[in-house]
């Protein structure tokens, strides 16, 4: 029962995060006003020098990461659990780095980005718990 819930959460949260990432990409492409951003810092963060990774918008890279995570969640066995937990934990560390950038370097907060970062951290905790709980499973 608990495992079924874990799996459901593991699949639901990436979907929410993917939705936000798509919204952020749209916000990036169109000139969205302050209404779209509760903290009015979205455009500042999205147009900052830190809004890309290897030349790609961060939201697009996030989508790619979520797709990879979705693929890994469908892999049965300990390899799927280990790699998905690793990917999620790495993403969470990067999300914390991005939150730090917003607060201490850019000086503006993008609510949508922060929501996605929070989901990344929560997802990492969830998948790490899944790894610990299934440590003796084949």
């Amino acid at each position: 029962m608990i495992r079924r819930r874990l799996n459901a959460c593991s699949l639901t949260w990436p979907l929410i995060a993917a939705g936000i990432a798509i919204c952020l990409l749209t916000l990036n492409e169109r000139s969205a006003g302050s209404l779209a951003c509760p903290t009015s810092g979205c455009r500042i963060v999205q147009s900052s020098a830190y809004a890309h990774i290897f030349g790609l918008p961060l939201a697009l890279a996030g989508l790619v990461g979520l797709l990879a995570l979705g693929g890994l969640l469908s892999v049965k066995g300990y390899i799927g659990r280990v790699v998905s937990a690793g990917l999620a934990a790495g993403s969470a560390l990067f999300a914390l780095y991005l939150i730090g950038l917003q607060l201490f370097v850019i000086g503006a907060v993008c609510a949508w980005c922060t929501a996605n970062d929070t989901i990344a951290v929560a997802l990492a905790l969830l998948l790490c718990y899944r790894l610990v709980a299934g440590r003796n499973d084949p």
């Binding site: 990774i53 659990r81 934990a89 780095y97 991005l98």
Partner: protein
């Protein structure tokens, strides 16, 4: 004895039966270490990717841009000509971007000439740039002529001379040229970069060189003064400060009036 052996064999067989599945799943500690390694690798890769995607900082500006801008503020500038088109006198100035005497003349005398003669509309200056001191001179000259295509030649030239380094020491680099353009917000950097290698700059440089050859020029700075539209005569430049140039201009103005 045989009973004990049988029991051991059965235990061993049980271990062997259990072994394949035990071998398939690594110990929890190994799993956690693998997950942590994946996490750290992904986080490090992401941070590196993020930091390396930052655009390069814009080139720093050069010292003295504000003073030069103020000096030339409001004075008409067209291509390689500074001053009103109907000014009665024309002063043609042959210079090389790396020539140290040109820099001395430019920094000491140009401000006086601009204030005293060009701003009131009594004189216009024609820039005739040459590049005979090396490849860096040509780089600088192309930059000046490209700025001229945006009617910003004279501030660029004065700023270049204000920041001149030792001849052929590498100071007139691509970075310096970028800084030169970045020092003036009114210069379109993209157009400037494209024009530097364009045919209009080639033509301007060739024209100035042909004029210098026709005049039999033997050094820089060389100044030629005369009534606008008429023949220009070489100035005997005795000093690089204003006292070497202004008496001749005053005399020419008196003769013209």
């Amino acid at each position: 004895m045989s009973e004990a052996n049988r029991s051991k064999r059965e235990q061993h067989a049980a271990v062997l039966r259990a072994a394949p599945s035990a071998r398939r799943t690594p110990r929890p500690r190994t799993q956690f270490a693998a997950a942590a390694t994946v996490a750290l690798a992904i986080a490090a890769l992401a941070v590196v990717g993020n930091l390396s995607s930052r655009p390069a900082p814009p080139p720093a500006t050069l010292a003295g841009a504000a003073q030069v801008t103020t000096l030339l503020q409001g004075i008409p500038q067209h291509g390689h000509s500074l001053g009103r088109a109907d000014a009665p006198l024309t002063l043609a100035v042959y210079v090389d971007p790396q020539c140290p005497y040109c820099a001395v003349w430019d920094t000491r005398t140009m401000p006086t000439i601009v204030d005293r003669y060009v701003r009131p509309g009594r004189l216009k200056i024609e820039f005739r740039g040459l590049a005979f001191l090396g490849a860096d001179s040509l780089r600088g000259l192309r930059a000046l002529q490209a700025a001229g295509l945006q009617n910003r030649l004279f501030q660029t030239e004065m700023l270049l001379y204000a920041n001149q380094g030792t001849e052929n020491s590498g100071w007139l680099s691509e970075r310096f040229v970028a800084q030169l353009a970045a020092s003036f917000p009114t210069i379109d950097a993209a157009r400037f970069a494209a024009d530097r290698s364009g045919s209009a700059v080639d033509t301007a440089i060739a024209t100035a060189q042909a004029q210098a050859d026709a005049a039999g020029l033997n050094g820089t700075p060389s100044l030629y003064l005369g009534a606008s539209g008429g023949p220009l005569e070489k100035l005997d430049l005795q000093a690089l400060d204003p006292s070497g140039t202004t008496p001749a201009i005053d005399a020419a103005l008196k003769a013209a009036s």
